[in-house]
């Protein structure tokens, strides 16, 4: 799949796309399915399925706890890929793998890429794998038309942003604020400045994640970004409001795209 082209095409009738997030195995595989079903009904554009890892250094406390719980639930890699198989076959969202490098390394670059492609993913996001280390994995992914999504962050120097921009595939994932997922709620003006800097260094669609909580956040991004990425807010909606609360936030977010 040409991910960038697909994103641009969907942007014809909406001002921003919505990307959501699931930690596979938390709260359970059955509930993951309900979440994915709800996403499809809300016409979510993209979803990242997170592969649980015992040392999730780029995740905030909520996701770290969820990863741990998923592992305690004995979620295996096979469970992960089976869920991706079923979901990508059944639902129209673009599916991306999100996870930490060690799990990929142990599976093997080639087998991992092959399995991910077979599951119907469009690419992957590996937050602890810097550009310089992507080499062999990147070749294995690209051979199967899988895209390696790279992150741009506000602490990067312009020179580094240029390097990332040149290597980026699919879309650029801009980190809206310093830090790990799920910690802050306010949106600062520097974010918009940062997003326009990101645009200077890449022609690919621009996604924004880390800290997006509400439809208001998504609306504020109209004209500044192409994809709003919501993760921990949805998890929180599930934990506090169950499936109803989850659907409610999904529909609000989905509506805020127009």
């Amino acid at each position: 799949m040409n991910l960038a082209a697909h994103i641009r095409q969907r942007l014809h009738d909406r001002r921003i796309l919505l990307m959501t997030h699931v930690i596979v195995g938390y709260p359970s595989l059955e509930i993951n399915w309900q979440m994915l079903d709800a996403m499809a009904q809300a016409d979510v554009d993209l979803v990242e399925l997170q592969m649980p890892f015992s040392e999730p250094i780029a995740d905030g406390p909520a996701f770290a706890r969820a990863c741990q719980q998923a592992l305690e639930n004995h979620t295996t890699l096979e469970n992960y890929f089976e869920l991706m198989d079923r979901s990508a076959a059944r639902f129209p969202m673009v599916h991306l793998m999100m996870g930490y490098y060690n799990v990929v390394l142990q599976y093997g670059h080639e087998p991992f890429s092959a399995r991910l492609a077979a599951a119907g993913a469009a690419g992957c996001i590996i937050p602890d794998l810097p550009l310089e280390e992507y080499g062999e994995l990147l070749a294995a992914l690209n051979e199967r038309e899988l895209q390696a999504v790279q992150l741009m962050t506000p602490t990067n120097t312009l020179r580094r942003l240029e390097t990332i921009g040149k290597a980026a595939q699919g879309f650029v994932y801009a980190v809206a604020r310093k830090g790990v997922t799920g910690r802050r709620s306010e949106f600062s003006p520097e974010v918009f400045e940062f997003l326009s800097t990101c645009r200077r260094y890449s022609d690919l669609p621009l996604g924004v994640g880390f800290g997006l909580q509400s439809e208001a956040h998504l609306r504020q991004l109209h004209g500044h970004a192409d994809i709003g990425i919501v993760g921990s807010a949805l998890l929180h909606a599930w934990e506090s409001g169950g499936l109803e609360g989850y659907r409610k936030l999904l529909y609000q977010l989905a509506a805020a795209r127009f």
Binding site: S54, E55, A58, Q106, D128, P130, T153, T155
Partner: protein, 414 residues
């Protein structure tokens, strides 16, 4: 060999180990740290300032003690101890934190964070922060907070904020993850004082640089006191900072055997240990920002580890030591909890020295091998820390009924 170790062909790599596997948000911070460190390293006044502060604040050079009674009892090589337990705060950790403290001052940062397992690195960081006027937060696994309450008390008294980490196994590795999370938000004014030769580049290099003072002193002292180089040098290995610092002094003496001793826990066969290399079960992986041997399952999830000593209870091992193991320069073995408690008892009774449980792992290795060596040979063991902090654990291991009774009375009074 020592010089080539840090002349990287790939930045931050020791053989196939090391690197910097961190979220992009930390990329610039690590580069800035690298620059500040390189700059300090090239400034001769910096090492002089470091030596000065270690002499006046931390009892350096620490002495070498001949274990006359134990050596006679074993009847082989003469065993010497490098007394890192006599450092300020009672362990070699002071070497690293004071050095990093001087770096923090150069970088102009106002706050430090650190992970701690046994609490020694936390206490050392808290003293450094107090001395240099820095705000200080220590992350410590909730399990370790329970195991090492006295150190928690001292960190707090020294003005540090101690945050128990409940995530994961609630031990050292989880405290390290939490530090990386804090740092990803706070790097503008905060330095992460990592406690061991692990984590993303340039941390292993920085910590090794400061800890090499152990090996430098030891080599000179052994030559001066015994007129020869030791046949073998032993150090315990958790993350590996005391071992790396000690071994660096002897890397270019190929006749000196270097031995790292890992935590054998309840025995290698039990699976309840933290022997990543000696146990043969460690496999190459990437976690906590670097590539090395980890105790992990086939899917890459980290396994539960166990040791009587909190400081050795860790899933990974220094990329520098992993490399030195792979090229055959450092030999690894393991000591069980039971062997360690027994060796500690002998060290106390025969020599009047209370070593830390961590450090006594190295002594177990030395006692095991010394008997088959000649009295002409000498062995050097790094006693990386003192054992006062382990009073609760040791009393329990020794089954001291009077101590338990004392605790009951204290609790009843309180």
């Amino acid at each position: 060999m020592l010089r080539e170790l840090f002349e990287f062909t790939r930045p931050g790599y020791y053989g196939p180990f090391g690197g910097a596997f961190v979220p992009e948000i930390l990329h610039t911070t690590l580069q800035e740290l690298q620059q500040a460190f390189t700059c300090a390293q090239q400034d001769p006044a910096f090492w002089e300032e470091y030596l000065q502060i270690m002499r006046s604040y931390s009892c350096r050079p620490t002495p070498i003690t001949f274990l006359e009674n134990l050596s006679r009892e074993v009847g082989g090589a003469r065993i010497y101890l490098k007394r890192e337990d006599l450092n300020h705060t009672g362990a070699h950790k002071a070497n690293n934190v004071m050095g990093q403290g001087l770096l923090v001052r150069r970088m102009g940062k106002r706050r430090v964070i650190a992970e701690t397992g046994a609490g020694q690195h936390g206490v050392a960081t808290a003293t450094m922060a107090a001395r240099l006027g820095l705000a200080c937060r220590i992350y410590m696994g909730a399990v370790d907070v329970d195991r090492q309450r006295p150190n928690v008390f001292w960190m707090q008294q020294l003005g540090a904020e101690v945050i128990p980490v409940e995530a994961g196994q609630a031990t050292l590795k989880d405290a390290l993850n939490e530090c990386l999370r804090d740092w990803a938000e706070s790097m503008a004014d905060t330095h992460y004082v990592i406690g061991t030769v692990c984590g993303p580049h340039p941390f292993p290099q920085i910590v090794a640089y400061f800890q090499q003072i152990i090996g430098q002193e030891s080599r000179e002292q052994m030559l001066a006191q015994t007129g020869q180089l030791p046949r073998s040098v032993y150090a315990c290995v958790g993350g590996g900072s005391n071992a790396t610092g000690m071994f660096m002094g002897f890397l270019d003496d190929p006749q000196v055997e270097l031995v790292g001793v890992e935590a054998g826990g309840l025995g290698l066969a039990s699976g309840e240990h933290a022997a990543r290399i000696a146990g043969g079960g460690g496999t190459v992986g990437v976690a906590q920002g670097y590539k090395t041997f980890f105790l992990q399952d086939e899917a890459g999830q980290m396994r539960h580890t166990h040791s009587v000593s909190a400081g050795l209870d860790y899933i990974g091992v220094s990329p520098i030591l992993a490399h030195l193991h792979q090229i055959g320069r450092v030999r690894f073995q393991a000591a069980t909890d039971a062997e360690v408690v027994e060796a500690l008892r002998r060290l106390m009774r025969r020599e009047g020295i209370i070593g830390a449980l961590e450090s006594v792992h190295a002594l177990v290795g030395a006692l095991r091998d010394a008997g088959s060596m000649s009295p002409e040979d000498t062995i050097l063991v790094n006693l990386s820390g003192r054992g006062d902090k382990d009073i609760f654990t040791i009393a329990e291991a020794l089954g001291d009924a009077e101590w338990v009774e004392f605790l009951r009375r204290k609790v009843a009074d309180a």
